[in-house]
Subunit: 424 residues, 2 copies
């Protein structure tokens, strides 16, 4: 098909009339699909039901996991998840059901008490700023916004966030205390940071001597279409650069076992972990150890987790493929939308022509398809070019998804023609 | 037996020689008992194993509890626990496995963002003070200490904390932002606040217009030796007094089902809950709903929870009775120790002669019995009269407990004689 901006107005109008007919047809079918978030589907949740068959709850050191205690995780859970997160045993904390909550708690503690190198708590400073690679994860931005942290947008490139810009910013501004990011199969772009970006983040000079990297490795083993990317171990890079206290790493089994009842893990230097555990001991008595034991007994080792992730991939790859095929068939060559083919994670990121994203998401919503709000992938929900849309294909069935993506493509074309006609 | 202080020095010395023999004999047996915390024993944990037999995880509104979502609890959990905590459905939040963590979070949020009536976050104020009825719960004090909150000791009386003193303090000092307490079967004294104390806490005039009552109702249904006490519903009292936003109520099933894997509940006014939920939505996606469903399917209604608690009582009452019998037999009439017979909760609180508690706890530790550290029941771990010791009889077997309490009584007598001889 021709590029849309090379087609004359009359032809565009005629083409739009056909699209509007398709749109009205979809609307009349009263569809109701949810593509708003990275939700695993029922078949994926069923993969982990075997872990519920456990009948005794004694940990390897003879502890009754039903009772109180064990702040940082039972030994076998620390063993398994330390290997998964690529850290030493005394560098990990195995917690409850939410890595997001661990990230929130890290930031809350930094605001109230500072981190190990802070002279004063971040909350007592006149201004705290975080670097936010964008497009990014809306829940990260929401935490920053709640705590009044100013978010500085850093553009994403094909190998990670713009590291030249980052190096310059952190070297000049003492108020920049952290970068918060998803370094592997980034949300939503599916980009894995290159070794060079990881190393430069680890070794860059920062004006704030208590600068921190909040490394939300949410999709560490969540490959699609093959072996997947390898992310350099940032804890090792930080150690090599003499900045071992700089990074906090987070993972969870939310998209490995159960999103509502998984296990979250964080890793950091011994100094950081020791400080965190002192504060954590005041906050709680211990995480749900019964659930930790369920996970360890079921998965046993990292190899089994990887094999389990291939089963997840087999379920969701056809959905990603179907979505990508329809995007290509409907939008290919028209120069009105650009998207990635992810090698892992849960999303396809799509850019429309500038100024069209909000209109598209509103139109598909009217046809019964719930997508992530336009703008959500930027701080304060404001995409400066109003063009980025996050597609989460995992939850609907393949047939539902095909319908949903078709509606989506119809809406993108209508909105694009509306825009192009205005400009002509 | 005579009162110790009416016995002459020589006789006391002779008596002490016999006690020291008993003590050495205990030491030679290399015992190892834990009476340090309110830990349920194995037989108690076994009572709830039936809840693990659940095989489907669909909530009453058709939601898959294995996946993300539902910030404030699944509907059937809200229904059950709202009734238990005596609040309306829109006044409760059903959370994860720890009420302590909910209390910590409440205080952390107040420090970072203030509460619904705050003009500025508490953490931005030059000074924040909490009232702490004492003896009290060490983990409450630890949270205050971590946040730099100044703790003001309020004496416990037989019907609750000294309410005259409280009314005076809060009417004069704007920096006093809260009282934190266990109002039923108080930790460690086992005292239930009277209706009058509840009502006066609810209606008292406070200089701080964002004053809060942190009402840790940890032992609401944890009766011993009969029907138990009734605690007046403070949310109703606060409403009646026009102060409905004043109170946060906390409960958990830690000592109903599993201490490490229970369900925590909080209740507050609609205004408070609405504000909390906005902040909570940034902190987390949702609690472990699978575990909430296990609890609801197993208990079904409050009547069954009460019946279940009678089974707990049948297991631990013989331990409390054995402890109380030995205390009476060994210490009765000697005027060197005073203790309560609790009608519920998990503790016996004992006062020695002034200045003896630390010595006693150290001596029993040397004989292999771990008790709560002396001083733990006061802020900063400092009991001004060094006399209060918390006994937690639930974990050891009856036979172990008998040994442990006997050692304890021997040590109290030795320490008391040491003190009395010094004073003669």
């Amino acid at each position: 098909m021709l590029k849309f901006d090379e087609i004359n107005s009359k032809s565009l109008q005629e083409y739009r009339a056909g699209l509007l007919n398709r749109y009205e047809d979809f609307k009349s079918r009263n569809l109701k699909y949810d593509m708003s978030r990275g939700n695993p589907c029922k078949e994926q949740l069923d993969l982990s039901m075997g872990m519920l068959d456990i009948t005794d709850y004694e940990s390897c050191d003879g502890r009754d996991c039903r009772s109180y205690g064990v702040l940082d995780g039972i030994p076998e859970a620390k063993q398994l998840f330390a290997e998964l997160i690529e850290a030493d045993l005394d560098e990990v904390i195995v917690g409850g059901n939410s890595a997001l909550n661990m990230i929130y708690d890290t930031i809350a503690r930094a605001m109230c008490f500072g981190v190990s190198d802070s002279e004063i708590p971040w909350g007592k400073l006149p201004k705290v700023k975080f670097l936010c690679p964008c497009p990014g994860y809306d829940r990260h931005f929401a935490i920053c916004e709640l705590f009044g942290i100013e978010m500085i947008v850093v553009d994403m490139k094909s190998d990670g966030p713009d590291i030249d810009a980052i190096e310059k910013l952190v070297s000049e501004d003492e108020a920049i205390k952290a970068i918060i990011c998803v370094p592997k199969y980034s949300n939503p772009d599916g980009i894995t940071y290159s070794d060079d970006v990881v190393d430069r983040l680890a070794r860059m000079k920062t004006k704030a001597n208590d600068f921190r990297i909040l490394w939300d490795n949410a999709y560490a083993v969540h490959h699609l279409f093959g072996e997947g990317d390898r992310l350099k171990n940032i804890m090792k890079s930080c150690k090599d650069a003499g900045n071992e206290d700089r990074v906090f790493v987070y993972m969870s089994t939310s998209k490995i076992s159960f999103p509502g009842a998984g296990v979250a893990i964080m890793a950091a230097s011994k100094t950081n972990v020791s400080k965190i555990k002192k504060q954590l001991a005041v906050q709680m008595i211990g995480p749900d150890k019964m659930n930790q034991l369920r996970h360890v007994r079921f998965f046993k080792n990292v190899g089994n987790i990887e094999a389990h992730m291939r089963k997840h991939a087999e379920i969701i790859e056809p959905k990603f493929s179907a979505a990508l095929d329809i995007l290509s068939a409907e939008l290919g060559g028209k120069e009105i939308a650009w998207w990635n083919k992810p090698k892992g994670g849960y999303f396809i990121s799509l850019n429309t022509l500038d100024g069209c994203a909000k209109e598209v998401v509103a139109m598909v919503a009217e046809a019964g398809v719930l997508m992530t709000p336009a703008g959500a992938t930027f701080p304060y929900g404001k995409d400066p070019r109003d063009r980025n849309i996050r597609i989460a294909p995992s939850l609907p069935s393949v047939d539902e998804l095909k319908n949903a993506i078709e509606i989506f493509c119809v809406c993108i074309q209508i909105a694009s023609i509306n825009k192009l006609l205005l400009m002509k």
